[in-house]
């Protein structure tokens, strides 16, 4: 029997039992669509985080207080209280020629008010270099002026949403806002940055680091962000930072330096694993669909015994009957997989309309895996019914 004839024959059988065919296609399609959607979700999360990190800027080193045994993780929660990182430490690090830009960072929170409007806002204390290191943009005015690190100045830059909510349509630049008991003049407004690493950059107030130290009455830095001149120099600079700070901290290695790459790799691993897990969970529905195919094909064999008997009387050999019924479940699962892919892509498209920032993209491996798994489950679960059909006694089948 020719392959085109087999397909034609099977298609006629499938369209002859519409409800059954529809239900099986649906089951398989749902299985495949859920693989597509769930892996898209995982892959989307991975891409999203990757994007967030890349928006931080390239060749970035982050220095934080406290020694962490494993690189690339969070700073230790317990153990000895580490020595603070100070502005003097930051200044010492700036002297290396591989350091292109360096931004000390203090983070806190304080009420910010203008006229009768007031709200609690994240305060960032840093220097002019933060602009380049975090790859920020401005919608109005200018960023912090290039001052010596220990020079305070009564100026500040507002996040986009904060400026909008405090001032509405009022002119922003040159206005004085109150931050706790201090006052500062607004010299710039950030562009619409969105979220960056958990901080809503729309809702911040940025001031010179020395001013923030005074505001929070604290000397210690939260982070030092360092942009290295070239990727090849990352490791060398990392070693330099650790050595320099150890020397300055009485020989104690009590800081952690993480590179953006290491962080990225960690998240990439975690979220990659998440994608596989989600794909695996979705694959269970493919298995269920396969079992459904087996059930329904068994019923089909029972319903079509006289047809099978006839085919044998017309000269069909055992292996031909086996082939015809296997082809039927394989075709069902393949068609179902195609419909499932279409549904999955449609679902991705719809979700994308609702969450435009989140990249819903099914990984290519998941598409192949879904199709192959669908086909395999069709074949494996179709084998038993097909064998049963092939083994039917034609005399009994014709009379039944």
């Amino acid at each position: 029997m020719k392959i085109t004839d087999i397909i034609h024959f099977v298609m006629q059988a499938l369209s002859g039992y519409r409800t059954r065919t529809f239900l099986l296609l649906l089951a398989m399609a749902i299985g495949v669509a859920s693989v597509v959607l769930l892996t898209s979700l995982g892959e989307g999360a991975r891409l999203y985080v990757t994007q967030q990190f890349s928006s931080l800027g390239t060749n970035l080193l982050i220095v934080l207080p406290g020694k962490n045994e494993t690189t690339g993780g969070a700073p230790p929660m317990m153990g000895a209280v580490p020595r603070d990182i100070t502005l003097d430490d930051a200044r010492a690090l700036q002297r290396n020629s591989y350091v292109r830009r360096l931004a000390p960072l203090i983070v806190g929170s304080a009420p910010v008010s203008w006229q009768s409007y007031e709200r609690e806002v994240t305060i960032l204390g840093s220097t002019a270099d933060l602009y380049g290191v975090r790859q920020l943009s401005l919608s109005q005015g200018q960023f912090l002026p290039p001052l010596e690190m220990d020079r305070a100045a009564p100026v500040c830059v507002l996040g986009y949403t904060l400026a909008d909510e405090l001032f509405r349509s009022h002119r922003v630049l040159g206005e004085w806002v109150r931050v706790n008991q201090y006052r500062c003049r607004v010299i710039g407004v950030l562009g619409d940055e969105g979220m960056s690493l958990g901080t809503d950059m729309g809702d911040v107030l940025i001031m010179p680091v020395a001013s923030a130290q005074a505001l929070f009455n604290a000397q210690s830095l939260f982070r030092i962000l360092i942009e290295v001149t070239q990727a090849e120099a990352m490791e060398r600079t990392q070693k330099f930072v650790i050595a320099t700070l150890r020397e300055r901290h009485d020989g104690e290695e009590d800081v952690t330096v993480i590179s953006q790459d290491a962080l990225l790799a960690t998240f990439d691993r975690i979220l990659g694993a998440l994608t596989y897990t989600l794909g695996g969970i979705a694959a269970i529905s493919l298995l269920v669909a396969g079992i459904m195919i087996m059930n329904v094909m068994l019923v089909a064999v029972a319903q079509r015994t006289s047809e099978i008997g006839l085919l044998k009387a017309l000269g069909a050999a055992r292996h031909q009957i086996l082939m015809l019924f296997l082809a039927e479940s394989a075709l069902l699962s393949l068609l179902g997989a195609m419909i499932g892919l279409a549904l999955g892509f449609l679902g991705n498209w719809v979700l994308q309309q609702y969450f435009p920032d989140f990249p819903f993209t099914a990984p290519v491996w998941a598409l192949w895996a879904a199709i192959i798994m669908a086909l395999m489950s069709g074949l494996i679960f179709g084998l038993m019914p097909a064998k049963r059909a092939a083994n039917l006694n034609p005399v009994v089948a014709l009379n039944g």
Partner: protein, 220 residues
């Protein structure tokens, strides 16, 4: 053409043994027209199924056109059945989802004949059996007589040497029955070996020879 030697086929029904065929020895020459008669349960269908290689003997020998059927494997038996045998059943056994022409083409499709040759062969038998204007109807749009003619067309489209008909007129009114008989007898005149099971003594008498059966035995 057909040779059975001490052929037996026994069925186990519960604890009891039922003789479908009991030590049957039989010779049928090519081109013969034979009717098979006997009471219900006497083994007529069993005989046809054995001759048509749908069923196998427990003991004895069956030689079809010089080939020892017993010793062939399953796929060779299927091939022999496809090449040499045509079946016509009382209840037609047409696939309802296929058109008359597609039903007729089915044995050729199974044999892997390509589409062009298939269409040509189908067109020939359709014309010969006067079914041209019904070729693209489905079975439920055909009368009983037409359905049986489609079934006969399907049985002979592979140009078999032997045509086995198990009560081919059993489900038909008299007129359609006579129509079908004429078709079968015309085919026999063109050379096909025709074996027909019937309960109707008048029809049975039309054959060149009648095989009478009782309890699985062929009466002399």
């Amino acid at each position: 053409m057909i040779e059975l030697k001490n052929a037996s086929r026994t069925f186990h029904v519960g604890d009891a043994l039922v003789h479908g065929l009991d030590d049957v020895t039989l010779h049928i020459a090519a081109g013969e027209y034979i009717s098979i008669m006997g009471p219900s349960g006497s083994g007529k269908s069993t005989l046809l199924n054995i001759i048509g290689i749908l069923d196998a003997l427990d003991s004895g020998e069956y030689i079809l056109d010089g080939k020892h059927v017993n010793s062939l494997n399953e796929s060779h038996q299927a091939q022999l059945r496809r090449d040499k045998i045509g079946f016509v059943f009382q209840s037609f056994h047409l696939l309802p989802r296929l058109t008359a022409a597609e039903n007729i083409a089915l044995p050729l499709t199974l044999a892997g004949v390509d589409k062009k040759d298939r269409e040509q062969r189908v067109a020939e038998v359709v014309a010969a059996l006067d079914l041209t204007d019904r070729a693209h109807h489905r079975p439920d749009q055909l009368s009983g007589g037409q359905r049986q003619r489609v079934a006969i067309a399907r049985a002979v489209v592979t140009r078999p040497r032997v045509l086995l008909a198990d009560e081919p007129t059993g489900n038909l009114d008299f007129a359609s029955g006579m129509e079908v008989m004429k078709v079968l007898e015309d085919l026999n005149k063109q050379g096909i070996t025709l074996l027909m099971v019937t309960h109707d003594a008048n029809l049975g008498a039309r054959a060149q020879r009648t095989i009478r059966m009782l309890d699985g035995k062929v009466l002399a």
